[in-house]
Assembly symmetry: C2
Homo-oligomer: 379 residues x 2
């Protein structure tokens, strides 16, 4: 805790208090797999100038402060929001649908830190295969902010990106300050080191960005993709995101599948997005009908599936296929999930290009509610 | 307050405490229109053996305690719920879609008390036209539990029941004990005094009630009606309600029109009902598609309308047409609404078969949220 106080410029007793209030939490499991990290803590809430998800570590290289990834605000209307928020040129980047990780190097090894600021064994194992250390050797002060995507994701499984976990870099930032590279510098750097970037779809003037985003969103929607992040090319303004109808509906589908676990706000906000998009995109009566059907189906079909699951198997659960290359990492990941407070069950590993494991998260609140209603309980 | 204490069997200081905590609230406006009531209080929360909405009055006839109308539980599945809950014969009554009022007589006049336990000037005026006092002369200990329906409703305006306010009796109960008449006695009494009853659709054995209700619900849905209340013919078991898909969707339409004022739970519960009904009714793929479309449209169309209202007029408001026969009653109703804490604006009365007045309730939370998003605010 002493090193955290030193790194964040706090008194040791102030740091202790943060730990007692669970604002600072141990962020790494002590294990040779993470041998370059002597100890680490995650900041679970915004504190002082530090974003939540900030990671503070004592490593073989000394003290490290890795800033949390800032929240990106969401536009509900493209016009006038983008025009008002930006000036000059903006880049429209594809928003990949996965989980946010920061890829870093400590000592001679690559590490993956989750949005919340914890070292993830599963993601670290994959990142060590995909990233080499050249970039970090030349840029020790930088981190790669990536979207971890793919079907074999422990957090946001999406087959549309392929089976195995992959990473798309969307920002390159200074670890210590969170200062991002400009779009141009990021692109050059990515090319130089062979990093896969979240695609830059267009560079346009902010005045016309709303039209360009609408065009891209329609195209991305048809491909089942998530949306667009609009960024000032110099990264001087905070970025703004906007999503496809298909992605809003996929979120709803997920939320209603486990309706008693998920916050109602999550549901309402996505429905509001659809209403604003319908008006802004000027849906004709057929487009509107399709949007209503898509919305209604995304909600109802997944709820019906959950009821059927409870009827047949007594419960509803989220099931993910994971792949490990080292069984130690599997054990570390189990421990990581346990520490995150997630209730999950794992199948026995089966050898197949590494080891395939199924992770099941029983959704007890939804399961119990449905079971009680099926038995003739009242709402 | 002394008479309330006496009526409920409390100490005067206990009654005062209930008033300080706003559990007891003044339930009548002092005015010659209500001249038979010297004073009255409503119980805003369940207390002791008394239901919320219990009305306690000092009247020209003496002390009166009028019990609050009990909540009716809702089945999400017809089978096994009805079979489990009932035995013997049950009556399937149509559930009318309006507002719950208790019709009573004090002195020589009729009074209408709302669900919450307040004397409503608007409803009282209409009830005095529709009900005569024969029934109460012969049965001073009873009350008529009615649904107030129609387009000119200040609370639940539904044109499907016609323009002017009308009343359907669904229970006849002892004021003091809440003891209901059996279905047969209720029907006989209604016939004798020419009371309009909520239609009794079928009398069936509880074993088969789930099938009978499903049939009736499908028919009622097509007519845009609300649903069914299942009642033990002897009224020995609490009744159970079940609603049509069309009614669930109409509720959603309303809730999403004013999405920032309405509790999220209201929305989710209605969606859950649709999922259970879809499975229980065995929707084929076309029926399921229609249900999804109906659900999606009910949600999206009303939200789009609200956004358009804010674009055009700066705000979204609920507008009702009301009719008064006496301008004093209009003034009393304004005061009643104000006391209920409802923000409403009224148009100037226009003479037309009495006086027509429009009541507008601005929905400020939804209006402000939409306005901010339209101006380019973030979610």
């Amino acid at each position: 805790m002493k090193f955290v106080a030193e790194a964040l410029g706090l008194s040791e007793s102030a740091a202790r208090k943060l730990e007692e209030r669970s604002i600072l939490r141990k962020a790494v499991i002590n294990h040779p797999f993470f041998q370059d990290i002597i100890n680490a803590y995650a900041l679970e809430k915004k504190f002082g100038g530090y974003e939540d998800g900030t990671f503070v570590a004592k490593t073989v290289n000394g003290l490290e402060v890795v800033r949390g990834y800032p929240k990106i605000r969401r536009a509900l209307t493209l016009y006038p929001t983008l025009k008002k928020h930006f000036s000059g040129e903006v880049a429209l980047e594809e928003k990949m649908n996965g989980y946010n990780v920061r890829i870093l190097q400590f000592g001679r090894r690559i590490y993956a830190v989750t949005r919340r600021g914890f070292v993830c064994p599963y993601t670290t194992e994959k990142a060590r295969i995909i990233f080499d250390t050249d970039f970090f050797r030349d840029n020790p002060e930088l981190m790669l902010c990536c979207e971890g995507v793919g079907e074999e994701s422990p957090f946001v499984p999406k087959p549309v990106y392929g089976k195995k976990i992959d990473f798309y870099v969307f920002d390159i930032r200074e670890k210590r300050t969170n200062k991002p590279l400009s779009i141009e510098d990021k692109s050059k750097t990515a090319e130089e080191y062979g990093l896969k970037l979240a695609p830059v779809l267009q560079i346009v003037d902010a005045e016309h960005a709303h039209e360009a985003v609408a065009d891209e969103i329609k195209k991305l929607g048809k491909k089942g993709r998530e949306g667009v992040v609009v960024k000032d090319v110099n990264m001087k303004q905070p970025p703004v995101k906007y999503t496809t109808s298909q992605s809003n509906c996929a979120d709803l589908s997920y939320a209603f599948r486990y309706f008693n676990e998920y916050a109602k706000d999550f549901m309402i906000s996505r429905i509001v997005r659809e209403a604003f998009q319908s008006l802004e995109f000027g849906d004709d009566s057929e487009a509107f009908k399709n949007r209503c059907l898509r919305l209604g189906e995304s909600i109802l079909r997944s709820m019906v599936e959950s009821i059927e699951d409870v009827k047949r198997r007594g419960r509803v659960a989220e099931k993910m296929r994971l792949r490990f290359y080292n069984l130690d990492v599997f054990e570390l990941f189990r421990e990581h999930i346990r520490r995150m407070g997630v209730d999950a069950r794992f199948s026995e590993p089966v050898e197949e290009d590494g080891y395939v494991v199924f992770m099941e998260r029983p959704m007890m609140s939804t399961s119990d509610k449905i079971a009680s209603l099926l038995k003739g309980g009242f709402w």
